[in-house]
Amino acid sequence: MNKINHHPGEDLLFDYATGALGEGWSLAIATHLAICPACRHSVSDIETIGGQLLDDPSPEPVNEATFDQLISQIDQEPDQIEAPLNRRNPDAQSPVLPEPLRSYVGGDVNQLAWKRLGFGASQLLIPLREQGVTARLLCIPAGRPVPTHSHGGLELTLVMSGAFSDDTGRYGRGDLQEADDQLEHQPHAGADADCICLAITDAPLKFKSFAARVVQPFLGI
């Protein structure tokens, strides 16, 4: 297990904990949290503050019928009680993609219907309930670059296997890169293995080269 060096900023963890962060960004944060106990600890501190604010002593009267409705709802579906699951078998083969990402894409990396993207890469668009943000899984072949680009808005990139590097550092499994419209970069996949990463964007990338810009509309990136 490699060590995670690039964590989400506290503002992202905070907005995730309050519930304000949109679905696409939250998918990247939640998937990072699955493999980062330190960031889960930060989120749980923020939830403790939320619990305290909820417990504020200025309550709002509730309709007296609500409790009876509750009881009848519970009685209608008595078998909906959830029990703690047994913890997984530690010897089981562990998938590459953690939950919640694996369910969002519909399987682990070897079960997916990748689409060719040009420059040797492939992608899988991830359906979201919330509009305005695009989530995709990207696979960049080992040793290959992504054409130099900047960002029309924000981009979160979470590495799931392999690694990529750019001027800002090296990103391996679990590392999260936050890019904004100030960053122009040319990420290279590491030489040893294809780099599979989750990328969340709220605006199309801006490719520097004319050739990349010409084909961009056909690539859907």
């Binding site: 939250s26 106990p37 503050i49 909820l54 709002e60 509750l70």
Partner: protein
């Protein structure tokens, strides 16, 4: 289900509301559920109405939250969160689902890829809830501008950029106010762990 009850040698005292949830988990105790309802239903409603939600929608979130408390009571772990914190997370998720009509993706503790916490010694497992009053006092002692951003974030579910827009201040100002508030409150939460 006696294993759900706190053992006498537990380092941590479970607060009154936490004990009610444990009673629901162990015996589907309706009297405990009524007491929990009386305490939390009006608070959840106040919390949701803070987000300019109409009262009938707020009632729906209250009801769904408490149905979930009943159904998930066996998943409540007083070592990890106070009753109020646990209920906050349930209400928050329902608010995203029912009011914002969106999803809030979460890690799954039972997934084989989930990396568990390093083992925490029993001595470290002190309650986060024990000193709830102290945490409340600390929140009340924060500068007004920090309290204001916390309320917009938690009660109105506004993100950093939305808080900046609402207050008419730069994003960097919001970030630093929240960072300062968290830094101060973490001292308090950390002391109780």
């Amino acid at each position: 289900m006696s294993d759900l009850k706190p053992k006498p040698d537990d380092k941590k005292a479970v607060d009154e509301m936490g004990l009610l949830i444990l009673a629901i988990a162990a015996n589907q105790d309706r009297a405990a559920f009524r007491r929990l309802f009386d305490h939390f239903a009006p608070r959840i409603k106040a919390f949701i109405i803070g987000q300019r939600t109409d009262p009938s929608m707020a009632e729906e979130v209250v009801q769904e939250t408490l149905v979930n408390v009943w159904r998930k009571a066996k998943l409540f772990d007083p070592q990890k969160a106070s009753a109020a914190t646990w209920i906050f997370t349930i209400a928050r998720n329902l608010r995203v689902d029912l009011i914002r009509k969106s999803n809030r993706p979460e890690p799954d503790v039972n997934d084989p890829t989930y990396l568990p916490e390093p083992d925490i010694s029993a001595a470290d497992q002190l309650s986060k809830s024990q000193d709830a009053n102290q945490l409340r006092q600390t929140i009340e002692q924060l500068p007004d501008e920090q309290q204001a951003v916390l309320r917009l974030a938690f009660f109105e579910e506004k993100s950093h950029p939305e808080v900046a827009l609402t207050l008419g201040v730069p994003l960097g100002t919001v970030k630093s106010r929240i960072r300062l508030a968290l830094k101060r409150l973490r001292l308090e939460i950390g002391e109780n762990q």
